[in-house]
Subunit: 532 residues, 2 copies
């Protein structure tokens, strides 16, 4: 087929905030009142106030890159380098806001396809320069913060995949589509939608995150109950590595030895640059219905999720807020139909054909009712669906007025859920003090366990970053102590790297290092990220 490309591209995000400034939302009064910790508007340096460090690449090196890709695709201007500095975690934003641009890349290069990527990697190996793949720039665990010195390298290339936004192939019989890594979520869905198809991967970062990033970080979306994690949607990968090209995924599943796709999924740019991703696609749903259910407690709601997952009876969307998050989310009583903000709110969503939705909804409703859930109608579901991508905008507003807001997440087996919840909550509240709000929800479920996603809001103090980092460390230590995974879908990056060894063991770390040496012997790929 002819390569199809999106007609409408997602705009650039500002360096210090999330999303499209035109879509920014105000700070609702309800949230302002509830938080009870709003201070004055803090000073945010304008993006142009702070100068970047000078590029460490020589004029000759820049000229060589221009020779490879064309001068227009090799950019050293501060404006773009600033936009390619770090990701969108709260620490990232706080550092940008205080003018700390020490992690800026030395040059931004924009390859047009796999061969361009391979050429840049070969050049970078020869020149001993680090390469950091940049997709949507939505990393929240320090995955875009390379440490070239750790690998004996002299500079950092931000490998901006924004030109690689094609739908390369579509096989409607096999239900597969081959996408380039630079496509943002909405762009990929728009291209597939032209064919009546969709991916159905909707993480919080959907509007800006990229296909390559979804694969490289094992993203999981808000419809994971119905459509699975992103890694489970991936059928095949093409990867450029310094050791050569890798093509994996000759079939849906097989017994041809270890599944090497699973080594490159989650490799966060450290094993190669993903240049093509073949995914399972689905027909666009004819029906979408989202509704609310009320549970007396988080434990009872979570147990109902477990029953659905273990009974192979999962709807498309399944989320459960704990008592604290429910109270905040339902502070506007009009949104929930009169039951107030007590108990725990569950969002249940169904998508598909009318008959499939009706059958699933009937079975789920019977099960949830039997377990003590109380249906709340469609209003809470619609409210959730409408605001599903708003949280990062709200975070910006709260950061503006001195409130520290951040999220973290983990995953464990059902039998360990309460223990993990208690440990992480305690770690956060003890570190941040009485004034902190700690909210939690379950948004990804499996037959054997579930994720826990925590949102924290606390007085930021004079140095919000210094307020947050000990709390994050305490939470990570609590996760390790509970025997859970350090991340369910935010990836390892640099922030979680100190805790990975506890999860995969010394031999596991040695295996990662061995693979790294095989595919990237000089160590140019995202040095300092992922591998302890």
């Amino acid at each position: 087929m002819t390569i199809e490309r999106p007609t409408a591209l997602q705009p650039e995000m500002p360096a210090t905030r999330w999303g499209d400034p035109d879509h920014a939302i105000g700070l609702p009064d309800g949230v302002r009142d509830l938080v009870g910790m709003v201070f004055e508007l803090r000073h945010t340096p304008a993006a142009t106030e702070v100068a970047l460090p000078a590029t460490r690449l020589t004029d000759g090196q820049i000229a060589a890159l221009q020779g490879l890709l064309g001068a227009e695709h090799v950019v050293t201007e501060d404006a773009l380098r600033r936009l390619r500095t770090r990701g969108k975690s709260t620490p990232d934003l706080l550092r940008q806001r205080t003018g700390d641009l020490g992690d800026a890349p030395d040059v931004v290069v924009r390859p047009g396809g796999h061969d361009d990527v391979a050429a840049v990697l070969a050049w970078a190996v020869e020149q001993r320069v680090a390469v950091v793949p940049f997709g949507g720039g939505t990393a929240v665990t320090g995955g875009l913060v390379a440490d070239p010195a750790s690998a004996g390298l002299t500079g950092v290339i931000s490998l901006d995949l924004g030109r690689m936004r094609g739908l390369l192939a579509l096989d409607p019989v096999s239900s597969t589509a081959t996408l380039e890594p630079g496509l943002r979520g909405p762009e990929a869905e728009a291209l597939l939608g032209e064919h009546g198809l969709m991916l159905g991967h909707l993480p919080q970062s959907f509007e800006y995150a990229s296909i390559g990033g979804f694969a490289a970080t094992r993203s999981s979306g808000q419809s994971s109950a119905g459509y699975g994690r992103f890694d489970s949607m991936v059928v095949a990968l093409r990867v450029a590595t310094p050791a050569g090209e890798v093509r994996l995924g000759a079939s849906p599943a097989n017994a041809s030895g270890p599944d090497l796709r699973e080594l490159f999924l989650g490799s966060e740019g450290a094993f190669g640059v993903i240049t093509e991703v073949t995914v399972r696609v689905r027909p666009l749903p004819e029906v979408k219905e989202y509704e609310g259910w009320r549970w007396p407690s988080f434990a009872e709601g979570a147990d109902a999720m477990r029953v659905l997952a273990q009974g192979d009876l999962l709807p498309t969307v399944l989320r459960l807020s704990d008592e604290n998050e429910t109270a905040i989310n339902l502070a506007d009583p009009e949104s929930i139909g009169g039951e107030g903000s007590a108990g725990c709110l569950m969002i249940v969503g169904y998508e598909g054909t009318p008959s499939a939705v009706a059958a699933k909804k009937a079975a789920v409703t019977t099960t949830l009712t039997g377990l003590g859930g109380r249906p709340q109608g469609s209003a809470p579901g619609e409210a959730w669906a409408e605001g599903r991508f708003n949280a990062p905008y709200l975070r910006d507003n709260l950061l503006d007025v001195g409130v520290l807001v951040e999220t973290l997440e983990t995953v464990t087996f059902w039998g360990n859920r309460q223990n993990l919840y208690d440990r992480v909550r305690t770690a956060l509240t003890e570190t941040l003090g009485e004034g902190a709000m700690v909210l939690c929800h379950v948004s990804h479920v499996y037959a054997t366990g579930c994720s826990l996603y925590f949102t924290v809001a606390a007085p930021g103090g004079e140095d919000p970053l210094a307020t947050w980092l000990p709390a994050k460390a305490a939470a990570c230590e609590a996760i390790v102590a509970a025997g859970a995974s350090i991340t369910h879908h935010h990836a390892v990056g640099t922030d979680h790297k100190p805790y990975l060894g506890a999860e995969i063991g010394e031999v596991g770390v040695e295996v990662l290092r061995a693979v790294k040496r095989a595919v990237d012997p000089v160590g140019i790929l995202n040095p300092g990220v992922l591998i302890p």
Copy 2:
């Protein structure tokens, strides 16, 4: 919990045949007539007629192993070494039948647990002796045929996991069970059944294959449509490697970097010895219903399977025989209710609670009827279920009378199914000649593709092995040419090793070698298997 162990153990299989001699079945007249190529009963050397090569281990080495595990767990007697020689492919059986015992291990050692395994590995590294893990002994691709000389080693230990048959832990809330690798399929199901639970993994080799083998070879069972492949059931693994212990699987799924479980799944003993497998378990089904459906052609039946898989509407069992296999299977018209043997027979099975089975059956029936399928009632389904483990016994009977019988399998995307089918069929019929029967079925389906399982029966001639090997090679080359996977669930072993490079590429092979060096630097683990 206290470790639970099976009260009834599966008996040993004979060296030259499949299964329990007490359960052997005769050669049905119908099959004898149909095959039309039955010759005289061939001579099969009695198991005790042929002497084994002398052990290559010294008395001192044997004594050292006895010191590690206890004298009773270190066996050098010919009788047991003969039973630990090779697996149960037709070439394996033919070699055993002609008295070729050149691949016999030098000693059989039986560790009692993880620590014993680790001790044997450490000793083997020091002594430069190969270690071949032995679970059920049902390998069909040469996975038990180590080549110690290729790694500069001086002998072969068969690491018989038969003492490691415990249910180590059960978490009914999380629906997980931790099993030792030596448990055979029926033994594991019996232990879980005591708790009202099951695994639901039923490959053709179920009666003898082991939990460790299922994991090490990425087995797939007859209920894969409903319960998934074995690798998808695995939650956690404990592995003993020469580099140390590996424990993986801190959570159901996560974003903690590459999924290293997927490196040890399918590693066929080359990366370590799997000593514990934690799997998802399910409640025992209250209802089991198997029925037949008739399709005008293989293509139309396969397309119906595709519609079910892509509509997330899979029953528990879903199989489809091509026209040739249908004609053989339905040679007895009583089994199918009067429609004769025309067209293609599909088996559809439902297991679960009465309400879940009823709902799924109604939806599947509507879909299949709409696509042109004709229901055949329960007789074909029951007949299939009753004979589901008989094929290897029948193979023995046919080998006895000079008929070459063997199977091979592959997997591809739906859009490539017909091409793959045509290429492999042509390769087999052209190599084996007009007298050969080539049958095929689809027994494992995915949203994006399906497996193809071929059964071949042909006049064996004076040297059935020499008749088969060129046909197998031609089929493998056809699979590679079609861009499919060299194996869907039989694993790589030594037989498929020459074709793995075409599937995973040069860098993929280098990654396997790098992992091997990291976990097994001396190369004692199953040398010559898996890694090109």
